[in-house]
Symmetry: C2
Subunit: 172 residues, 2 copies
DNA sequence: CGTACGGTAGACAGATCTGTCTGGTATCGT
DNA sequence: ACGATACCAGACAGATCTGTCTACCGTACG
């Protein structure tokens, strides 16, 4: 049920997918849906929070390596993801584009993920002995956003090489 | 009328704004609207194409400077824009997030803008004598996307310094 | 003067949206 | 065996969506 919503929200956008589509696709009655989620917005929040959790788990599963290699591995995952069929950009950025209110639950969930991501990069850079981990992490976050966007809107085949190059330049 | 739509689309998202809202805000009859635009999607396309045109004009108005300085000026404009109240990210990226179909007229208009932007950066880098203008322009496009996003989702006050720093690192 | 045109307001159709509610069914643990 | 619980299908309310249509008004041009 959340899986169905996830697929539809990601592929078509949150506002473009109605509850009726979700329950029909998930072969579930409407009452059942509203027993599990008080509203559609809460479903969207659950969707975002699940993506957040999946991202954290994916990072936790990364093979042991030096901090610098881990940074490259994280960014390599972006390029890999963008090459998968059905890639449609970053679920967090796409959702944020549809939720203008910065204090809405959905946006708060997005912010939460971004804070984690930024802190993670900062720690890795600090562990790597980088001279300016805070600023560099900020630039890497920006770079990651751009790569996630570009993987959808531009040619995703060149993205792996471009990613390596870009991260190298940013790390110095 | 297009101005009204532009404000609403940008501030709240395309799907979140109905025709009724637009015509009420623009103090225009519904029939008048449909005399000027055959459909809402065509209005969205006109909105995107106008933003494209405005972007090109803004670049054309940049003061004379070296190619490298022009690149910095272009990116400085992003940081400036993000500090304005009501900043809500990049209209092209936001629209693309709501139009999944890559061959829809809206997405084609977005692609058009991106192609122009990429070619512009490539020319400037080539004129600057950069050793790898094509790859570097691609990275700058990605960086620009990230900055436009981050200006909305993160703290926009640090963005100017971060932008200068990031562009410097990418240019080498 | 008259007519063609572009504007207005708003009803209307048909679809879709979120969310509630009714009534029937199946599957549990006790 | 029985009650609680969760499920089902689907009607329903009330709002909103896009897009069309009618009927009227004012103006400008021949």
């Amino acid at each position: 049920m959340l899986d169905t919503a996830t697929n539809l929200f990601y592929a078509e956008g949150v506002h473009a997918v109605g509850i009726d589509r979700i329950i029909a696709d998930a072969r579930v009655a409407k009452a059942t849906f509203y027993n599990h989620f008080p509203s559609k917005d809460e479903l969207v929040r659950a969707y975002i929070e699940e993506q957040d959790q999946l991202g954290r788990e994916a990072v936790a599963r990364l093979p042991d390596a030096s901090p610098r290699e881990k940074v490259f591995a994280i960014f390599h995952r972006i390029a890999e993801a963008a090459r998968q069929p059905g890639y449609r950009g970053c679920p967090f950025l796409n959702a944020a584009a549809e939720y203008p209110d910065p204090v809405s639950p959905v946006r708060k969930a997005v912010d939460n993920h971004r804070r984690w991501n930024r802190a993670l990069l900062r720690e890795l850079l600090a562990a790597d002995g980088h001279p300016d981990p805070a600023r560099t992490a900020d630039i890497l976050v920006v770079l990651g956003d751009g790569l996630l966007v570009s993987g959808d809107l531009d040619d995703a085949t060149k993205l792996a090489a471009l990613t390596r190059d870009a991260v190298t330049r940013v790390l110095g």
